[in-house]
Amino acid sequence: MAELNILEAIRQAMDEELERDERVMVLGEDVGKKGGVFGATEGLWAKYGDKRVLDTPLSEGLIAGAAAGAALYGLRPVAEMQFADFVYPAFNQIVSEISRMRYRSNGAFGLPMVIRMPYGGGVHGALYHSQSNESYFTSTVGLKVVAPGTPADAKGLLKAAIRDPDPVMFFEHKKTYRLFKAEVPDGDEVLPIGRASIARAGKDLSIFCYGYMRFCALEAAEVLAREDGLEAEVVDLRTLRPLDVATVLGSVERTGKALVVHEANQFGGYGAEVAAVIAQDGFEHLDGPVTRLAGPEVPAVPFHHALEDWFMINPSKIVDAARALAAY
């Protein structure tokens, strides 16, 4: 077991997959000599050369579209969008091409490829370096969407994503990159896509979360236990599409109360789907309104720290929402 942070775990996953399978390649802006703006690909260019760890021009459509072409050819490209905020020039490729290549070719052409994207706020990145735009992709059939919250999950799920026969959008919350270290199993540990994990067991209410929200929810659960005697169950969804419905409903069955937390704004956000699944299929177990705690209805995260703090979901906001729900 090694103690790694999420950034190191992601780098190690790519390193091991590049080593293991010569069809794997990495491409994106500054991923080569510089090792990425966050350092996710640090050292890989020196080790695998400038073809397999390839710097691209500032052309996000190209990054996605060329990755799709490489996947058609039989490679397993791992594309990096420097920030999730900059993915939109590639939206046409991702939605019109990548998500539906298998479907439109009646199964003849699959695209085994990954698009990694640092997302989320809390790092003074303002409107264009902080977005949580996962719901555009979770609502796109044909994609898989993964958003890990621990180093072990980040590594195991990225390996699974690289080996997956279908396109995977891999969301990395940039605030978690160096937030904490945790044990990562040695060796070739591949975690299945599509399984949530119970980050903390509890009986009084369920908190559904992913990415950085897992960290916040666990802190909140600690406060709730200490100050209120409430045992919150924290369910880390890990994969947003496909959603692990069984684990979600199983938790609601145990606790009777559901709080869905994400940093993206609430209206039409990913939490709406989780809430709807619970309301429709977990109705008989509910002992309170399915509740969402989400980012505010403003276009994006504002810059000044006072404004950003106002925007961000934090443990204290989760505690407040959990108390209100528990008291229902």
Binding site: G69, P89, S96, E97, R102, Y103, R104, N106, G107, G110
Partner: protein
């Protein structure tokens, strides 16, 4: 006349083509045209919902595709690529089946609208409707071949209207940066549905843009099959030699309306439409071959009879194929059916 004949004689041989090969190219054009015309008839008869034609583009498509190696190279075509996809391996029956959206259609199993060709067995990338997306796929395929050190060249086709998409710029720039083995063929028919070239391309030349991407841009008469073949053959050799991509702008004519849902008489002068026939690549190639004595009346008769029989048989077989079962529409979203 004698001079022309001599020049023409040298021309196809100088390009490495035998008499039999040029005759085969002519037959490929005849077949693509016959398939195209048959589908218009089927559309008018209510058997096919929609058709987007390649008539007038056959010379450019057969000429450039002929320089590619079937089963080794890759093609990312567009919705007018009837002749190109057929030159690369698709049969008349494949094309007609795709238009009838039959259940075992190789392009999409009846999922896509007519004109959206594709075939894994032929290395032909599935076509979509947003224009220009396929050009990035061709560049990605060329990138993959370059990364792996494989002897593979990608060719992609699109119109001059599409040449204005941002993705084309992204694709060509990247291909130029890394000298990727890819050939861009812009079939310039002068119209993006109803909007003429002058309102589409600021500098009026698509080929002239190539210099900014670090590649040669060649303009060819797209109705001259051998000129198109020559340009593509050179581009293919450059790509294989590691010298990078080439942009070929083939000036073609669109003999039909944009599609069966369009009527070009609403925006093109009747005399202009009438004049297009002079640039039809089929009679032009036939004349060249006749001058050389490669094509004669009996050969022409035989070829036309063969093509007619082939199209009759292809449409008969395609029509007899089963329609897709409704419930099959749910499948093939992911490799393993998860959601």
């Amino acid at each position: 006349m004698a001079t022309t004949k001599a020049a023409a004689t040298t021309r196809h041989r100088e390009l490495g083509l035998s008499d039999d090969e040029v005759l085969a190219m002519y037959r490929a054009m005849l077949l693509a045209r016959a398939v195209d015309e048959r589908m218009w008839l089927m559309q008018r008869a209510g058997k096919i919902a929609f058709i987007i034609s390649g008539q007038g583009h056959e010379g450019a498509q057969v000429g450039t595709s002929w320089a590619m190696r079937r089963g080794q190279d890759w093609m990312a075509p567009f919705y007018r690529s009837i002749a190109a996809t057929m030159t690369f391996g698709m049969s008349a029956e494949d094309i007609i089946t795709a238009h009838l959206a039959k259940g075992d259609d190789v392009s999409s199993g009846g999922r896509q609208m007519p004109g959206h060709y594709g075939g894994a067995p032929y290395n032909i990338v599935s076509v979509s409707s947003p224009v220009g997306t396929q050009v990035l796929h061709a560049v990605g395929i060329a990138m993959a071949a370059w990364v792996r050190g494989d002897d593979v060249v990608a060719i992609t086709f699109y119109g001059e209207g599409t040449s204005n998409q941002g993705e084309i710029h992204e694709a060509m720039n990247f291909a130029g940066v890394h000298k990727l083995p890819v050939i861009f063929v812009c079939e310039n028919n002068g119209y993006a549905i109803s909007v003429p070239l002058a309102k589409q391309v600021g500098g009026l030349s698509v080929a002239a843009r190539a210099v900014g991407y670090g590649m040669p841009g060649v303009t060819v008469d797209g109705s001259d099959v051998l000129a198109c073949f020559g340009a593509a053959r050179e581009a293919h050799a450059r790509a294989r030699a590691g010298e990078g991509p080439t942009l070929i702008e083939a000036k073609v004519v669109r003999l039909t309306s944009h599609s069966s849902d369009d009527d070009q008489r609403r925006y093109r002068d009747p005399s202009e439409v009438e004049g297009l026939k002079e640039h039809d690549p089929l009679p032009r190639f036939a004349d060249q071959l006749r001058q050389l004595g490669i094509l004669t009346d009996p050969i022409e008769e035989r070829l036309r009879a063969e093509v007619k029989a082939e199209v009759n048989e292809a449409s008969r077989r395609a029509e007899a194929r089963p329609d897709p079962e409704p419930e099959t529409a749910a499948g093939g979203v992911y490799a393993a059916e998860t959601r």
